[in-house]
């Protein structure tokens, strides 16, 4: 069983706090209240004061602001070193990090620096110290316990609601950081197409699969996503066919998503795809084949031709919104 205290580790990306940071605040707050332990956070950034104040306003008791120009962009060894110093200073036993690309690497390094047990992609943290995470592509749920005084937990995005402003604002404390002689250097960043909702943080996702019949089918998928305010996903079959770039791929070899609403259009539902989206709140399947696995597992199954259905669904939504 880990030592008392909960510490959230947050690395703003491109100067912005990711929505997952507020999900960590909720996860941390629930655990802190259940255990009657303090909740602290550490923000690692070149401009840490603003994000630190934002976390304090959302109810984190104490936020350490570690500010250094070399923390502007994610460099795993530097961020982990800074996080480890904050963790040692706070003396907390349970450390929460988001399972993003950066968060996963940060949690991994941090665990070794603190000689701590690590559980990744956790979706439930129990007050008895055990955590739940998927095993074998989500075919099994593992109940993991920690043997070390410090536990590092990377939390799957979208599993906790995002914390709002709290009644009581916490304190912000600056923390100095000496990066030493870094051996990793951030060179540049090239953004993906803008104006797209990020899959991992989306509350709604519309995905297309082989059943679209061709790349032009994604036009309707994008239209529906736009009408729903959703991100666009895809099955591996659609990506492998070159209909849509890989970054949209959902599933075992793509991204894992956990939106409130997942609409699968023309996706038969192979196990590899289901592994990446079966934790979604409500799954809607649109498919002509009523017997395919996706139609069988979906919460809402609509049998039919997507080319006919999607324009009608969009028109109906527009009509009701006036």
């Amino acid at each position: 069983m880990a030592n008392p205290g909960i510490l959230i580790v947050v690395a703003p990306q491109r100067g912005v706090l990711p929505p997952a940071a507020f999900e960590l605040v909720t996860a941390g707050r629930r655990l802190a209240d259940a255990l009657k332990e303090p909740l602290s956070a550490v923000v690692l950034s070149d401009k840490a004061q603003g994000p630190a104040a934002e976390l304090a306003a959302r109810g984190v008791d104490k936020v350490y602001a570690v500010e250094h120009p070399l923390l502007a962009d994610f460099v795993e060894e530097l961020h982990a070193k800074a996080a480890a110093e904050a963790a040692r200073k706070s003396g907390t036993g349970k450390i929460l990090v988001s399972s993003s690309v950066a968060g996963r690497a940060l949690a991994a390094r941090l665990a070794v620096l603190l000689k701590a047990g690590l559980a990744a992609d956790v979706f439930e943290i129990r007050p008895d110290g055990r955590v739940l995470r998927p095993l074998f592509s989500g075919n099994l749920i593992a109940e993991v316990e920690f043997k070390t005084p410090v536990a590092v937990i990377s939390v799957a995005p979208m599993t906790f609601p995002r914390a709002e402003k709290a009644a009581k604002t916490g304190a912000v404390e600056p923390l100095a950081f000496d990066p030493g002689a870094p051996r990793s250097r951030f060179v540049s960043f090239k953004a993906e197409e803008s104006n797209e909702v990020d899959l991992g943080a989306a509350e709604r996702v519309v995905s297309g699969g082989r059943g679209l019949g061709g790349p032009e089918g994604f036009k309707l998928v994008f239209d529906l996503a736009h009408a729903l305010g959703a991100a666009v996903g895809a099955s591996r079959a659609a990506v492998d066919s070159g209909w849509i770039p890989y970054r949209h791929q959902v599933g075992l070899t793509g991204r894992s998503v956990r939106p409130k609403l997942y609409v699968a259009v023309g996706i038969s539902g192979q196990i590899q795809h289901l592994a990446g989206m079966s934790s979604s709140g409500t799954v809607v399947a649109i498919n002509p084949d009523k017997d395919c696995p996706m139609m069988q597992t979906a919460n809402v199954a609509v049998q039919g031709d997507y080319k006919e259905l999607i324009p009608l669904i969009i028109a109906d939504i527009k009509k009701r919104r006036g």
Partner: protein, 266 residues
């Protein structure tokens, strides 16, 4: 300049449909055929491609575990040598203790012939923590990056890599030696050649235990693990779904929108 690459590979069950042993409450993988972790194929392929780009380079496959066949598979796909870290003391390890064992073996290889790059797959298909690359880097105190989709330039002193982030691509420059966890965008693995298969068949792989690595048995396997798998169970069944019925497509569309509004999903 030729470099020495170590590729860390893992043996995993060939299927994800793993039952739970009712006696222990733990996953029962006995009897399920083992394969090279599919994500590790990309790391092995990248090592083979780096060898082609930098003639005279060598690649050593490294595994922690009882299955030596993954080393044979890596050799068939282009690795020159392989090392197996195995013994009863390594059983029941988690990402913390397994990465410690990998790091110790890499140190030993490094002392014998300096290592420049250590490559990993994105994650193992069984436990899928996706953290062992960065954990190994931390034990070694070497720089590293995860999510690597391109190794742009590597010489004996540094490497430039492209890292796939949620919002775009980062470029990083790392001094060597460094640990890189790859993603599947990095290449398209080729099938093993017949020549490679023949050579792999005859290959002999040294086996190192904790003693050879200078590790205390308390640091490895279950003893050195930071976590314990208490139990595993199938996920709760999803509630039965509803079928949206209608005489026409328009009727179905309207009913679907009704339902989404009713459940406050849109």
């Amino acid at each position: 300049m030729p470099i020495h690459i170590v590729v860390c590979v893992k043996s995993v069950p060939s299927s994800a449909a793993i039952p739970v042993d009712p006696g222990t409450g733990l996953p029962k993988t006995a009897g399920v055929p083992a394969i090279l972790n599919p994500f590790d194929e990309y790391a092995v392929e990248e090592a083979a491609r780096l060898k082609e780009r930098l003639p005279g380079s060598t690649a050593t496959a490294l595994t922690v575990g009882a299955d030596v066949e993954v080393l044979r598979e890596a050799a068939a796909r282009g690795c020159d040598a392989g090392v197996q870290v195995a013994g009863p003391e390594f059983e029941g390890g988690d990402s913390l203790s397994s990465s410690a064992a990998l790091a110790a073996a890499i140190k030993k290889l490094h002392a014998d012939k300096p290592v420049h790059l250590v490559l990993f797959g994105k994650n193992a298909s069984d436990e899928a923590s996706g953290t062992v690359g960065s954990q190994t880097a931390a034990w070694l105190d070497w720089p590293g990056a995860a999510g690597v989709k391109k190794i742009e330039a590597a010489d004996g002193a540094s490497v430039t890599v492209h890292r796939m982030m949620e919002d775009g691509i980062d470029a990083l420059s790392l001094s060597l030696p460094a640990c890189l966890a790859t993603v599947k965008e990095i290449n398209e693995p080729r099938l093993p050649s017949l020549k490679g298969k023949m050579a792999a068949k005859k290959a002999v792989f040294p086996k190192w235990g904790a003693a050879e690595l200078g590790l205390d048995p308390a640091q490895v396997g279950a003893a050195g693990a930071g976590t314990r798998l208490a139990k595993a169970s199938p996920p709760p069944p999803r509630p039965a779904g509803v079928k949206v019925e209608g005489a026409t497509a328009a009727e179905k569309a309207a009913k679907l929108v009704d339902l989404l509004l009713e459940r406050k999903l849109i």
